[in-house]
Symmetry: C2
Subunit: 355 residues, 2 copies
């Protein structure tokens, strides 16, 4: 047994194949699972760590003068551009607003970088820009700077959008994976998997009895409700690429804790569950774009739930589990039909280009 | 004659064809010329102006608490990824650092959003990431947050990179086109056109006697030297897409002033001039990535020149013209061979995908 095999066999380390065995980038390197994490650790963190890169969080926290800022970025390459419940424009605004919210920050300003494909109908661009405007107004953020590039036909599937965001941190909480403690309550703000299945259904031309709409929404409202009420929040995460399972495993590993989940407590809508069964997906790994997980001190759990349920975006909030000392990493789920199983990070790519 | 024709005939308005006559996006909409400006004005500004978009500047200036920030973004789609004097990585760092510098800000933090093509050699990615690290270290900025997406083969020519940047404004100057006044000196920090010709030559497989290297560099150093010396700077701009001509026309129009240029004073290296002649380009419209124009109060012009010439990136700085009251917009150039001509904004696309 060589060193590589040893390394890959140690518990909590989920990528069976080292990066250097892949000579080229795979779609799975963007999937939010273990391959993406290896790429980030081995290429980006190793290059940028001394430049301050915070790799295991949705954004960076920065002190500028006397002001505490959060700063984050995401590119959006969703295919198709329009899907039930949203489009690449609303997704690009809400996604970055949510990354700021997951730092516990109040989102203030966004930038927008457009990469447009030659031949993109001007009317399509205008619809998407209008959608961004409405999403920014709804989230109370200002879109203050931008950039436009045009590339040749066939080179970007209509358009890609990057947004970066600045938010202000107005509390003394240290919201990040390392703050998670055994005993913390794990609270989920609503049902999971809608965004991924909405995009997948329209992309594959699947018609279900009802149309599954993306849950795409800006989450700063319910998050700031918790912050302002003084809830002792330890970590926040929106389960996008890789889904709820990958988000929980990543946080548990970074916190050197375990998580016990109760499958029965995790809300999945019947239509999403049915679509997942037809297509062979596990909803635990399917992206949401309007949900978040909060790790809060156990004593604040009931109050946090009540606050979330009073908010339109947290009506179905529920406690789905607890943090244990059994780390680093194992997320164990008590199954609906009895028994329990280890929940792993997504190993590759389940749903390419859903955000 | 209808209203549209009237509008397009008025002086200082350089786009002969209204946007709605283009049903789709053209490469020229990304070229830095009049078509791009129409796209920005008619699509982005009309949607986002009430959200605070500053369209005629390289970045936004924001007050957050007691701190004055600059915030900017650019996407980079340069083809090919590597060119003499740089690559998409160093360009993505320096370009955004320079946009912050053009706001008179000290660059502090960058984000990086990568869109990678399936199949991109891992070694290529690592080379480019290494180049970004070196450029960030040289420019003294921290790369603090990022994002990676992967798209299918053929969908992004290897990789696109977006960077956004935050800088701090540590002076009371109001650096923007509207601050430009008749009588201001127009100072150029060095020779123009190298970046565009370097990319073009390698893309077209052209071999000249000497290799033209991109001037790609971070400009915060020489800009902050001017700021710290108390030079009364009114406006700064790096002549990237659209070249020096488009940058000057845009500023003159926004300032409702004119500009008188002296062709003889504008430095163009002999190899760049020769390559432009062979390919039929006018160096006034060819992008630089390590040069800037400063509009300064006339009384400070000599001191500004001395400061710039003392800096390695400003050794060839020179005064190329003056601001006149003859606005809005005409940029008039006294030609080397006698006579003078009106310098217009680039009307479409001269060099696609050079940044």
């Amino acid at each position: 047994m060589n060193d590589k095999a040893d390394e890959n066999d140690r518990p909590g380390f989920h990528c069976p194949v080292p990066l250097d065995r892949y000579p080229g980038v795979l779609l799975a390197h963007g999937g939010g699972g273990t391959l993406m994490h290896r790429l980030i650790e081995e290429v980006f963190v190793s290059a940028f760590s001394n430049l301050g890169l915070e790799a295991r969080h949705d954004g960076a926290r920065l002190d500028v003068g006397s002001v505490r800022l959060a700063f984050t970025t995401d590119s959006y390459v969703v295919k198709p551009l329009f899907f039930p419940g949203g489009d690449i424009g609303s997704l690009a605004v809400n996604g970055t607003v949510n990354d700021l919210a997951m730092c516990g920050a109040r989102p203030l300003y966004l930038s927008a970088g457009f990469i447009l494909e030659e031949g993109l109908p001007m009317e399509t661009l205008q619809r998407i820009v209008g959608s961004m405007r409405r999403a920014a107004e709804a989230a109370d953020v200002r879109l203050v700077t931008g950039d436009t590039k045009v590339v040749d036909r066939g080179k970007c599937d209509g358009m890609f959008i990057n947004t970066a965001g600045i938010g202000i941190v107005e509390h003394a909480l240290d919201i990040r994976p390392a703050s998670v403690r055994p005993g913390d309550a794990v609270i989920l703000s609503g049902d999971i998997g809608r965004h991924g299945m909405a995009v997948m259904a329209v992309r594959e031309g699947l018609a279900f009895e009802s149309t599954i709409e993306s849950d795409c929404a800006a989450l700063a409202g319910p998050v700031l409700a918790l912050v302002q009420a003084g809830i002792e929040i330890h970590c926040l995460r929106d389960p996008t690429r890789g889904g709820l399972a990958s988000a929980l495993v990543e946080i548990a590993e970074a916190a050197a804790c375990g998580v016990h989940l109760d499958e029965d407590a995790i809300p999945v809508r019947a239509d999403v569950q049915a679509a997942c069964e037809i297509l062979g997906f596990d909803p635990l790994y399917v992206a949401s774009e309007g949900r978040f997980v909060a790790f809060v001190a156990a004593g604040d759990a009931e109050r946090a739930l009540a606050l979330l349920r009073a908010h339109p975006l947290g009506r179905d909030a529920c406690r789905i589990g607890s943090v244990t000392s059994g780390g680093p990493g194992p997320v164990v789920m008590k199954c609906r039909l009895g028994g329990s199983r280890i929940v792993d990070m997504l190993s590759g790519e389940q749903l390419p280009r859903i955000c």
